[in-house]
Symmetry: C2
Subunit: 220 residues, 2 copies
């Protein structure tokens, strides 16, 4: 088979480049993005870049000012709490749904492999964040509920900004692999009520930690 040529549009390339520039913190929170500058920087036309930017706007990574100027979204402390409550509700549903699947054991095994991966990357900060998000995204994916996954994905942008904003070091405490072992083990037991409880607590503590990290930053 020769046909492995991947044709990707300029728009999508801009989209990915911009997204990672934002979620990696290269473009700081609140920074105003100028179409002409960026278009020239990427070497594409404004129209092409605009489509990418509008998409990021709806992903919650950019916000539009009064006159249409897009800037990198800034997330307040109180919002973090809200976001994580929604996230908890979604992932609790995911866990519950996953347990109802006939091939539930296989799916849990896949999740377990994600946790193993988390154990392996304990040196690299960024990889830790990624594997953690991969785990939670996989939880939604393995629920088999497509709408659930898409819904969760709309939160991923804001979640990443929260993590970035609070500082990677602080976010890491949430991602101890052990705590994810607990989730997987509870899933394996199949007690839906208990799983929801575990996930809710997991998220609540994560949110709390991010928020206190933010407070310390504000003071220091």
């Amino acid at each position: 088979m020769i046909r492995n040529l991947q044709r990707t549009t300029l728009r999508d390339q801009c989209l990915n480049a911009l997204r990672s520039a934002i979620t990696s913190g290269q473009l700081p929170t609140g920074h105003h993005l100028v179409e002409t500058e960026l278009a020239e920087a990427f070497g594409v036309s404004r129209g092409t870049l605009r489509e990418a930017m509008r998409r990021l706007e709806q992903e919650g990574l950019l916000v539009a000012g009064s006159r249409g100027q897009l800037s990198v979204r800034h997330i307040e402390e109180s919002e973090i709490h809200d976001i994580y409550r929604v996230r908890a509700a979604l992932e609790a549903l995911a866990a519950r749904t996953l347990c109802e699947q006939p091939d539930r054991d296989e799916r849990i095994a896949t999740l377990a492999s994600h946790v193993r991966r988390m154990h392996e990357v304990q040196e690299d900060l960024i990889e830790q964040i990624e594997t953690d998000l991969n785990f939670h995204r996989a939880l939604c994916e393995l629920s088999g509920n497509q709408a659930l996954l898409t819904t969760w994905l709309t939160l991923e942008g804001p979640i990443r900004i929260s993590i970035m904003h609070a500082g990677l070091e602080h976010a890491l405490h949430n991602m101890a692999a052990d705590r994810h072992d607990l989730i997987v083990n509870t899933l394996a037991q199949g007690d839906a009520t208990r799983i929801e409880q575990v996930l809710m607590e997991h998220m609540e503590e994560a949110a709390r930690r991010l928020m206190t990290a933010l407070e310390q930053r504000a003071e220091g």
Copy 2:
């Protein structure tokens, strides 16, 4: 005050026009939208229209085919069930959160006024759908959790398509005002667990009804 002039961009006008054309069923499910045709029909340039279409894509009203052609999203029976489960989880969270608010009684009163409005429009099919969606959107809004509302909004498009697809007549059974009275009354009692239960059942029955309506359509 003279400055009540609302300047709205062509893009947003296209966006709204297209959105209502889709959710009203004027543009049938699966229909392929051609940029050049639509742009001419609206009297705007392709670039302007494209931005509106890309947004609708992410709202879940349009889907992109292999070569970038956008067409009106078609929702399968199984998806309806999935969508309504997510919706139930979100609204259950909304109800729970609303109960925690100090001025909870006022908020519930606002919800009650929405239900009254539902009683008033029992003649007009379309208005019934709208007031129903308004009620549920208000529930999320009144929870005070902004992220929750935005998340719910990402489901609104698919929900509307489901309703449209199953046929307005069938969807209406879900929207008997009485059933919403039950929700408000339960909210007023303040028992979080019971509210969640009521909402879950509300959604499950709604989904079931839409699905059987679809089956009948397929046979007929």
